[in-house]
């Protein structure tokens, strides 16, 4: 029990308690998402800036080297922001993905950790994994499912309702070469869902 607090002393203590001097990683992520989505009305390319900020958040906090965001444009999708796809980045940028292609990705063999996330493991990676296991005398027959090859992809769909795909976030090549943690996918799923009302495709621009 402390002595009676005067109002100014309490105000100072509260101000210090909520300052950003000590802040957890999750709180930094929250802050960064708020800044990315909040935007500035005066900016002529608000959506472009938002996509850039989202890509930077994923790059900085979740350690993916390759990130692309595609947004619905007309009867297909166009990449609004691409980072790290060195070889095929240009090809992605000028490509116009059809709705059929996206539906194909949605149903491609893989693992769906949440309704808006699809992890696609390439056949090549699966084959290498089995070869590595056969050659590794310490593996005891256990396959290492943690590694993520350059051909493995994670898609985070930006869904307005279950069928309306506004776009998606494409992720590959984590810095540590491993599958992302549950915590990472949890945040990226939230980012994808939070982006829905901030995405416009031209006809519904603010």
């Amino acid at each position: 029990m402390t002595d009676a607090f005067d109002a100014d002393k309490i105000a100072k203590a509260i101000s210090e308690r909520y300052s950003n001097v000590t802040i957890s990683e999750d709180d930094r992520i929250s802050d960064a998402i708020v800044v990315a989505l909040e935007g500035k009305d005066s900016h002529h390319n608000r959506q472009g800036v938002m996509l850039e900020n989202i890509v930077m958040i994923i790059h900085r906090f979740f350690n993916f080297k390759k990130i692309a965001i595609a947004i619905r444009a007309g009867d297909g999708y166009e990449y609004g922001k691409i980072v790290g796809f060195v070889k095929d980045g240009q090809a992605l940028k000028i490509s116009h993905q059809s709705l059929e292609r996206i539906k194909e990705i949605q149903t491609e063999a893989g693992y769906c950790s949440k309704a808006n996330i699809r992890i696609i493991i390439s056949n090549e990676n699966e084959k290498n994994r089995r070869n590595d296991c056969a050659q590794d005398e310490h593996a005891n027959g256990d396959l290492d499912f943690e590694n993520m090859s350059d051909d493995d992809m994670i898609y985070v769909f930006i869904l307005a309702g279950h069928k309306d795909i506004k776009g998606w976030i494409e992720l590959a090549s984590p810095r540590d070469g491993k599958l992302p943690s549950s915590h990472t996918l949890h945040w990226i799923s939230l980012i994808g869902d939070m982006m829905v009302p901030f995405i416009h495709s031209g006809t519904d621009a603010p």
């Binding site: 029990m1 402390t2 009676a4 607090f5 109002a7 002393k9 309490i10 105000a11 203590a13 509260i14 101000s15 308690r17 909520y18 802040i23 957890s24 999750d26 709180d27 929250s30 802050d31 998402i33 708020v34 989505l37 909040e38 009305d41 491609e108 063999a109 893989g110 693992y111 950790s113 949440k114 309704a115 808006n116 992890i119 696609i120 493991i121 390439s122 056949n123 699966e126 396959l143 499912f145 869904l159 307005a160 309702g161 279950h162 599958l179 549950s182 915590h183 996918l185 949890h186 945040w187 799923s189 939230l190 869902d193 939070m194 829905v196 009302p197 901030f198 416009h200 519904d204 603010p206």
Partner: protein, 211 residues
């Protein structure tokens, strides 16, 4: 590129890996579910905002949660949805209307900025107009002395502003009383700001008829 299906062993591994939860993830996961179940599934504003205050009340440990919105006709802010107040206090509460100048009148409603768009109103500074005492849950406790500096006491409240643009506030969340009796964690305020920035945009889209 069409891949072969993953082996059962591989699927089982992924299932186990991605079903684990870290401490403190429940609230953000519930927020993600809220988005999917309400805002993107086409529920109307009324249903969505009622669900929102239930969600905040349940996951963030506040005894009282309300949303005030600006009426575009008269420009006044009124509490439209609330949870956690006794009927009598709730009725008094919903009769209150604030102008935009009231909102940031620091002489009448002294406060401390605690985050990007959150302010803490300290009970000892009496942040209410004369006559508004009846809108508190326990008005007889308004003169209670704070036992410890991290206690949350009757009369303390937090407002988190919903912005239409940087200088245009369209409403706010109001939060008071914590089930622990302590001030909320910093992370709680950060997450509530995340929710605020999303709901602000959702409300703007709904008002413009954009989905």
């Amino acid at each position: 590129m069409i891949n072969s299906p993953l082996s059962l062993e591989h699927l089982q591994y992924l299932r186990e890996k991605y079903s684990s939860r870290q401490e403190g993830e429940e609230a953000t996961e519930a927020f993600d579910d809220f988005i999917v179940n309400y805002t993107t599934s086409g529920a109307n504003i009324d249903t969505t905002l009622k669900a929102l205050i239930r969600f905040i009340h349940r996951f963030f440990g506040f005894e009282y949660v309300a949303i005030a919105l600006r009426n575009e006709k008269d420009g006044l802010y009124r509490y439209v949805y609330s949870i956690g107040l006794p009927a009598e206090a709730d009725s008094s509460y919903k009769k209150i209307a604030y102008s935009s100048s009231d909102l940031f009148d620091d002489a009448t409603f002294p406060s401390v900025k605690i985050c990007r768009f959150s302010r803490f109103y300290i009970a000892e500074k009496k942040p209410y107009k004369p006559g508004e005492e009846s809108s508190y849950t326990r008005p007889n406790l308004l003169t209670l002395t704070r036992g410890h500096i991290d206690d949350m006491i009757e009369g303390d409240y937090i407002d988190i502003y919903l912005h239409k643009s940087p200088n245009d506030v369209m409403g706010y969340f109001e939060l008071a009383g914590t089930r622990s009796g302590k001030l909320p964690e910093k992370g709680t305020i950060k997450k509530l700001e995340l929710i605020a920035v999303f709901i602000s945009r959702y409300l703007q889209n709904e008002h413009r008829g954009v989905r």
